[in-house]
């Protein structure tokens, strides 16, 4: 990266203006997010296909998930999106300390999300509702319930992996922000990780109803 | 040497000629467009060769109508081929309701068959000719694919599901069966054969699992044993009518009427020859009623049907079919 500890990022040699650099960076990040849409899309497709074939089993499986923890997690993640947006605002307006503060808040909330997920996962492990050879389910529709949990772990696992990577990058960005690398002219990295983080939030916005809320109207 | 260069598989099912017609038509269209484009390219490349170092070409205005024309015409051709292909395809995958159901299980690296009567086979399937047959297939392990080039049918065989294909064989013979979906080490060896038999032969085969000599070969033997050949010679019509090429022809009877020679006529001629006396012959042929079983009649009929009108053909062993793609007949 250019710049020593207290120098802000400047203009790359192949760009003509800060505006051009910012627009390129923003567009590039969005193109990357489109690839992420398609990446998660494969799993969403599997979910739709299999759910259309065995809706009852999926509803039964969904009942085993903790809707309270899931809802809390949704709120936490939305909150972290808010703090992330505020971090970008701070970068736009050149508030160095605020950037760091908001990014740290985002990291904390993200960590909280992951922590709750760990709690949920261990509950599943205890009940043998884990993908792989150790799966065990006493009730009806065992094959379909196993498929539901396969998808649950794959989708939330991929999502969690994205969050871990996001938190890692946020740490780096926080350090860079502390060193004063960002300015209102060039804070593309903050905007970029912001876009990424919001995308992860959007994935969860879809995962939550699909996994946790289906079949709640049925008494099981 | 060229006789051995295979270019086309045999047509052994009702589907085969449809597929071949579709293919050849499309091939013709492709050759046309290929030659058209290649011809134009070569012609222009020669005609407009660069003659001076700094020569440049003459740009013309693009014409939207030209673009539309050469978009719409290929599209129309392609849509036509699509529709025709769709018709053949649906016909191939939708079995008629009277198709007899056989069961097939594929596993690495063999095919297991079960006839509706209960007989089971491995890697070989015997079927009667002229009967719509529907195969209900599944796999025990990985995806395989049931492919008989002579029938032009193919369908993947999946684990945990039933897939269906159907065919109606039209020609006696033995045809390759291939596995057409990669399934592991012995994928190349996961083949076999489909043997198409006369219905009578098929029944015999089912009953005793003894294929025995075919109808035609048995008929040929009977023709000698029952002394038919003492009178019916292939080269002389003095004593008795020549039977070669007789099947399907019209004959003139004593009373002036004509009749087409079909199976019923042949049977009647064997069992009660005087009833249908052929014009120009004395009533010398004895009746074989009581001296010959129905099965033997069928065999004789089968043999007579197989006699080509080439009178030089006589006592050589008759092969059921000669297809370049057939494996050695398993008799």
């Amino acid at each position: 990266m250019q710049g020593e500890s207290s120098h802000a990022f400047g203009l790359a040699h192949h760009f003509d203006s800060f505006d051009q650099q910012r627009e390129a960076s923003y567009l590039g990040m969005w193109v990357f997010l489109v690839t992420e849409i398609m990446f998660f899309g494969g799993l969403f497709t599997a979910y739709v296909v299999y759910r259309s074939g065995q809706g009852a089993a999926f509803a039964i499986g969904s009942h085993e998930l903790d809707i309270v923890l899931g809802s809390i997690n949704t709120a936490v993640l939305i909150g972290s999106s808010l703090t992330m947006a505020l971090a970008v605002w701070a970068a736009q307006t050149g508030r160095r300390k605020a950037i760091v503060a908001f990014i740290l808040a985002t990291i904390l909330l993200g960590g909280l999300f992951l922590g709750i997920k760990v709690v949920e996962y261990s509950a599943k492990f205890e009940h043998h509702l884990v993908p792989g050879p150790n799966f065990h389910w006493q009730g009806p529709e065992a094959p379909g319930v196993e498929m539901f949990f396969n998808l649950y772990f794959l989708m939330t696992g991929l999502h969690a992996a994205h969050m871990v990577i996001g938190i890692g990058i946020l740490l780096v960005v926080a350090i860079l922000a502390w060193r004063g690398s960002f300015s209102p002219e060039n804070h593309n990295l903050v905007e970029g990780i912001g876009l990424y983080w919001h995308f992860v939030d959007i994935v969860w916005i879809f995962l939550f109803p699909l996994l946790y809320l289906l079949g709640r109207n049925i008494q099981v | 040497m060229w006789k051995n260069v295979p270019l086309f598989p045999e047509q052994a099912s009702t589907l085969a000629s449809e597929v071949d017609a579709l293919y050849l038509t499309f091939l013709g269209i492709s050759i046309f467009f290929g030659l058209l484009v290649a011809g134009l390219v070569i012609f222009f490349a020669i005609r407009y060769r660069r003659r001076a170092e700094d020569e440049i070409g003459r740009p013309e205005k693009a014409g939207i109508w030209l673009e539309i024309t050469w978009s719409v015409i290929p599209l129309a051709i392609l849509l036509g081929m699509f529709a025709w292909g769709a018709k053949v395809y649906i016909g191939a995958f939708r079995p008629p309701s009277d198709a007899v159901e056989y069961f097939v299980t594929a596993k690495q690296w063999m095919w297991k068959f079960q006839h509706p009567q209960g007989n089971r086979e491995i890697n070989e399937l015997h079927v009667p000719v002229g009967q719509a047959i529907r195969l209900t297939m599944t796999s025990e392990d990985v995806i395989h694919s049931f492919f008989v080039p002579a029938f032009r049918v193919k369908a993947d065989v999946l684990p945990g599901r039933y897939t269906t294909l159907w065919f109606e064989a039209t020609k006696i013979g033995t045809y390759h069966l291939f596995c057409a979906e990669y399934c592991g080490v012995e994928h190349s060896k996961m083949g076999g054969s489909i043997t198409v038999m006369e219905p009578a032969d098929y029944e015999m085969w089912l009953a005793g699992r003894d294929t025995g000599p075919s109808v035609v070969a048995s008929g040929q033997k009977l023709f000698r044993v029952k002394a038919c050949s003492t009178c019916h010679r292939p080269d002389s019509a003095t004593l008795a009518p020549i039977l070669h090429g007789l099947f399907g022809e019209e004959v003139e009877l004593e009373d002036g009427s004509t009749q087409i020679v079909d199976e019923n006529y042949l049977r009647e001629s064997i069992m009660n020859p005087i009833a249908k006396l052929v014009r120009g012959y004395k009533p010398l042929m004895p009746t074989y009623q009581g001296q010959i079983t129905e099965e033997e009649v069928l065999q004789l009929i089968g043999y007579i049907k197989s006699l080509a009108s080439d009178a030089t053909e006589n006592q050589g062993p008759e092969s059921d079919s000669s297809s370049p793609a057939s494996t050695p007949d398993e008799g």
Binding site: E23, W30, I205, P209 | T136
Partner: protein, 101 residues
Amino acid sequence: MSEYITPIRTYLAVFLALMALTTITVAVAFLELGPFNDIAAMGIAITKACLVVLYFMHVRHSSRLTKMVVVAGFLWLFILIAFIMSDYLTRGMISLQGPIG
């Protein structure tokens, strides 16, 4: 064109809207609406996603190119799912006259 800076109150408003929608979607899940359960859940999720995209991700005030990119992404996902479902929903309709044993 210089960057548009979203005011904080907009962010807060969107945040509250998202929270409200989350509460609604959880509550509605417990009602018996037949097929509309799914439609409601997805509709609310799509609304939330739109809010995040437009405001948190600044798409509302970005170039038309960006908007096209976003639309293209979701359109492609829709194509993936729709075409694959066109297979699964129509299996066995034309080829077989009926289920087999």
